[in-house]
C-alpha cells in the first residue's frame, strides 16, 4: 500500500491506496473508510469507495483544502486492516436459465464448458463486493474465475430486467432495477437488492461477501422472482 492524496474537485480529495484490483485490498479499504468517517465526522458530506480509492467529499464551508488533507493524513496513522469478518456474507438465490440469462450459452462456448458446468463454477465461489455504483445497490463483485471471464456486449441492451445476474471481464453483478446494460446475463435473482425502506437501503455493502446459489424455477417463483423472459422486455 502506498497512500496518496490527490485533488479531484474544489471540495473533494481522492485517497488512492492501491494500484490494482485485488481481494486483499478490501480489509485496508474498510479500515481506511472507518477512520475517515471518524476523522471528518459532520464535516464529511460523502465518502465514495471504489476498488482502490476513497473519494472524500467534505463540507467546504467548514474545512479548507489544507485542513481536509491534514484530517486524511491523521486518519491514516498506524492504519491496520480490518478483519475479513467485518463484512456480511450473503447468499443470493439465482435461477440460471437461458430465458433470463441468454449469455449462458455464449460463456459455455467461449470456455468449452457445458452450461451446467458454467453454472456450477459461477456459484461455487465466494465473491467480494469491491464497490457499489452504476445504479443504487449495484454491487461490483469478483473475481470470477478466468474460464468464465468475458468482455461486455458490443451493443448494450436497452433494457435489462431487475435481478439479472451478469458477468463482465472477471466481475459479476446483479441489476437492482431495470436499466440499460452491457453485461453477459446468465440468470436472475429474486432478491431485493435495493430497498428504500430497509435499514442501510442496499442489501450489499463494500466489503461484504456473496455466494450465488442455483435454484430451480419453482423456487425462484416461490421467492417472488419475475420470470418474464428478457426478449419480452425489449
Amino acid at each position: 500500500m502506498n497512500p496518496r492524496v490527490e485533488v479531484v474537485a474544489l471540495d473533494c480529495l481522492m485517497l488512492r491506496l492501491f494500484d490494482e484490483i485485488a481481494e486483499a485490498n478490501m480489509p485496508w479499504m474498510l479500515a481506511a473508510s472507518e477512520r475517515l468517517r471518524t476523522a471528518f465526522g459532520a464535516q464529511l458530506i460523502d465518502l465514495v469507495p471504489s476498488y482502490t480509492t476513497l473519494m472524500v467529499h467534505y463540507d467546504l464551508t467548514l474545512l479548507s483544502p489544507a485542513h481536509a488533507r491534514e484530517l486524511i493524513a491523521e486518519a491514516l496513522v498506524d492504519l491496520a486492516p480490518n478483519a475479513r469478518s467485518a463484512g456480511e456474507c450473503h447468499v443470493l438465490p439465482v435461477w440460471y436459465d437461458l430465458s433470463v440469462g441468454p449469455e449462458l450459452s455464449l460463456l459455455a462456448e467461449r470456455s468449452g464448458l457445458a452450461v451446467k458446468e458454467v453454472i456450477r463454477r459461477h456459484s461455487a465461489r465466494e465473491y467480494q463486493v469491491f464497490a457499489l455504483g452504476f445504479a443504487p445497490g449495484f454491487a461490483f463483485m469478483g473475481l470470477v474465475e478466468e474460464m468464465l471471464a468475458a468482455p461486455r456486449l458490443n451493443t448494450p441492451r436497452k433494457k435489462v430486467a431487475a435481478g439479472s445476474v451478469g458477468i463482465a471481464e472477471r466481475q459479476t453483478a446483479a441489476y437492482p432495477v431495470v436499466s440499460p446494460g452491457g453485461w453477459n446475463l446468465i440468470g436472475r435473482t429474486p432478491a431485493k437488492l435495493f430497498d428504500r425502506h430497509r435499514d442501510g437501503y442496499s442489501l450489499m455493502q463494500p466489503g461484504d461477501t456473496v455466494r450465488f446459489e442455483a435454484v430451480d424455477h419453482a423456487e425462484f417463483i416461490r421467492l417472488g422472482g419475475d420470470d418474464t423472459p428478457l426478449e419480452a422486455l425489449a
Binding site: V8, M14, E20, V48, S50, Y201, S202
Partner: protein, 307 residues
C-alpha cells in the same frame, strides 16, 4: 396547505432541492438543482431555507394555476415567464392571485428557471431528499422519481411575505463572458502538451448531447496518454475525457464512479453557470488555484446571509 395546479409540464420539469447526500457509497447519485445558485436565490427571495424544494424548469413549457392568492419566487434563466399573458422577469418574488396562470414559455436567456414557494414545495424525502432522479426512481412529488405532470398539485405550507427583488448587481451573468474555473485534477499531467494548450486556449461549444448527467463540450480532441484507469468516485463538475477526446462535464445525476481520465473539475460556481448554457453556446476554461477558488466560494455564500 396552499396549492398550485400544474396546467402544462414536460419531462424536464422536476422537483429539486440541494440533492441527496450521505448515500453515494451505495451507488445513489447526488441529484439536486443543476444551477444551485439560482435555486438558492429563488428560496432566498422568500426567506426559505436555501435548499427548500423548488421546481426546476428546463427550457420552458410549464404552467401552473393558483388555487388561492399566493406569493412565489422565480430565479435563474429568463424563460419568458408570463402571468395571464403579462411578462414577468425573473429574480423576484411576485403575487399570483387565485385563478391566475403562471406560464413559463421558452428560453430567452439561460436554460433553467427555478420556481419557489413559501416554505418550499411539499414532497416526501426519500433517502434524505426530494430531488427527482428519473433513472433511480427516487424523489419528486410521489417519491418515485417522476417528472412533474399536468394535473398534479404542488402544495406548500409557508406564509406569505412582502414581495422583493434581487439587486441587479447580485444577479448571475448568463451571457458567459468570463471563462469557467477548473480545479486541476490528478491526471492533468498525462494529457498531451497540445491538449493542455487546447483545453485552456480554445473555445468549446456546448453540444446538444446535454442532460442532467453531463454536458458534452465540442472542440479540439484532447489526448490522454496515461494508463487505463480503474473506476473511482466522480465529483460534481468533473471534466472527464472519453476515448473520442471530447470532454464531458459531469452534472448532478452522474454515475457515482467511473473510469475515464479527468482534466479536473469545474468549481461549483462555474458549474452553476454552465448549467445555464444552451446547446451551441461557446465557453472557455481557465485553471484556478484550489485555495483561491475556495475563498471565492465561501465569499459568495456570504451573499445569501444578507436577508
Amino acid at each position: 396547505m396552499s396549492r398550485l395546479t400544474i396546467e402544462a409540464s414536460t419531462p424536464l420539469c422536476l422537483l429539486q432541492d440541494a440533492g441527496r447526500f450521505g448515500v453515494r457509497h451505495l451507488g445513489v447519485t447526488q441529484g439536486g438543482a443543476a444551477d444551485w445558485c439560482s435555486m438558492s436565490w429563488a428560496n432566498w427571495l422568500l426567506g426559505n431555507e436555501l435548499d427548500a424544494a423548488v421546481v426546476e424548469i428546463t427550457l420552458g413549457g410549464f404552467a401552473v394555476v393558483a388555487e388561492e392568492d399566493c406569493l412565489l419566487a422565480l430565479a435563474g434563466a429568463d424563460l419568458g415567464a408570463q402571468i395571464d399573458g403579462q411578462p414577468l422577469a425573473p429574480w423576484r418574488s411576485f403575487r399570483l392571485a387565485k385563478g391566475q396562470t403562471l406560464r413559463i414559455t421558452q428560453p430567452l436567456l439561460g436554460a433553467r428557471a427555478y420556481l419557489a414557494a413559501p416554505g418550499g414545495f411539499t414532497a416526501p424525502k426519500v433517502l434524505g431528499s426530494s430531488a427527482t432522479v428519473l433513472r433511480e426512481e427516487l424523489g419528486g412529488l410521489d417519491g418515485m422519481g417522476l417528472p412533474l405532470a399536468k394535473g398534479a398539485a404542488l402544495g406548500y405550507s409557508g406564509g406569505a411575505l412582502a414581495t422583493r427583488e434581487m439587486p441587479s448587481a447580485q444577479r448571475p451573468d448568463f451571457k458567459m463572458h468570463a471563462p469557467l474555473d477548473l480545479v486541476l485534477g490528478a491526471q492533468i499531467g498525462q494529457f498531451s502538451g497540445q491538449s493542455l494548450f487546447d483545453v485552456f486556449n480554445r473555445t468549446w461549444t456546448i453540444d446538444s448531447r446535454a442532460d442532467r448527467m453531463g454536458i458534452r463540450l465540442l472542440g479540439a480532441p484532447l489526448q490522454y496518454q496515461g494508463a487505463p484507469m480503474i473506476s473511482e468516485g466522480i465529483p460534481l463538475g468533473a471534466v472527464q475525457v472519453p476515448p473520442d477526446g471530447q470532454p464531458i462535464v459531469l452534472l448532478n445525476d452522474r454515475q457515482t464512479i467511473g473510469g475515464y481520465p479527468r482534466m479536473g473539475a469545474l468549481t461549483p460556481l462555474a458549474l452553476a453557470r454552465l448549467a445555464q448554457c444552451l446547446p451551441g453556446a461557446k465557453v472557455k476554461l481557465r485553471p484556478v488555484v484550489q485555495d483561491v477558488a475556495h475563498r471565492e466560494h465561501v465569499e459568495y455564500l456570504q451573499r445569501f446571509k444578507d436577508r
